[in-house]
């Protein structure tokens, strides 16, 4: 392994850890965390999001999410951005992932999957 490959691997590993840490932060959210009445994510949704993240890491270790977010309705959102293309995965119930693909000039596409 070259030093560049080693550095890239280390950087990717750090990004996965950052995403996992974000999920741990959501454990501490309380209702109205945004000052507009947002619901804190349920513990089982957070745990499910952690499982989803670890599955994604195994499937595609070179693509950690660009952002991990809590939504005001209590769901958790993972986002991958590549240029103007955005893939959003929302975990709103244990084992359920709602996908959205946005590409420039196209209508967004939606689908739901189980994991």
């Amino acid at each position: 392994m070259s030093s560049d490959e080693w550095r890239l691997g280390k950087q990717l590993a750090e990004e996965w850890v950052l995403s996992a840490n974000r999920l741990n932060d959501f454990d501490r959210l309380v209702d109205d965390w945004d000052g507009l009445g947002a619901t804190a994510p349920d513990q089982d949704v957070v745990e499910s999001a952690k499982i989803f993240l670890s599955l994604k890491r195994k499937q595609d270790p070179e693509s950690p999410p660009s952002r991990v977010l809590a939504a005001p309705d209590g769901s958790i959102v993972f986002e991958w951005q590549s240029g103007s293309k955005i893939v959003e995965v929302e975990i709103d119930a244990p084992g359920r992932a709602n996908y959205m693909l946005e590409e420039p000039g196209k209508s967004p596409r939606f689908w739901t999957g189980r994991f």
Partner: protein
């Protein structure tokens, strides 16, 4: 004493609101009047939270800014610029300051949202709701997709009206 002070504050607030409308040339416009096509609608967006607004991104405003929470039973809230300034709105609420985004009523109607006046003494003046984007505990996949499409469309037509990080 308490009652007198409250009444005084109410009168002052009403006077403030009247002066604001007077300056905008609509002194006797009612908050219950139907929304005109050319009116500007405002929406508060929490600051300091990248889920809603991330200045580091090419498109800072996120569609989550238009997602209802469980209190939005009548629909998500908007406010009419005819009755409240973006700056004032940005400092109203439990965790101010907020970003405030602006949308033209005509464009909001064109994407299929019906905006209805719902004046509320606990809210800033000019309160509106959109029943197409209300909270439902168990949304079907089709309802969720329809709501997500509306949120994306709103994000795309909104522009920043007040940036608390730039305000002094």
């Amino acid at each position: 004493m308490q009652c007198g002070r409250t009444r005084g504050n109410t009168l002052l607030r009403q006077l403030d609101r009247f002066i604001y409308r007077l300056v905008r040339g609509v002194p006797f416009r009612s908050e219950r009047d139907a929304v005109g096509d050319a009116e500007w609608l405002l929406r508060k967006v929490p600051s300091g939270n990248a889920a809603y607004y991330d200045p580091s991104l090419k498109t800072p405003l996120q569609r989550i800014a238009f997602r209802p929470n469980e209190y939005d039973v009548d629909g998500i809230s908007f406010f009419r610029e005819t009755f409240v300034s973006p700056r004032s709105l940005g400092y109203e609420g439990r965790k101010p300051p907020y970003y405030v985004v602006r949308l033209r009523a005509r464009q909001v109607a064109a994407i299929g949202l019906r905006i209805v006046p719902l004046p509320d003494p606990d809210q800033p003046p000019g309160h509106l709701v959109s029943s197409e984007l209300c909270y439902k505990a168990r949304q079907t996949a089709a309802e969720k997709e329809a709501a997500s499409r509306l949120q994306v469309a709103l994000r795309d037509i909104a522009s920043l009206a007040f940036d608390p990080t730039a305000a002094h």
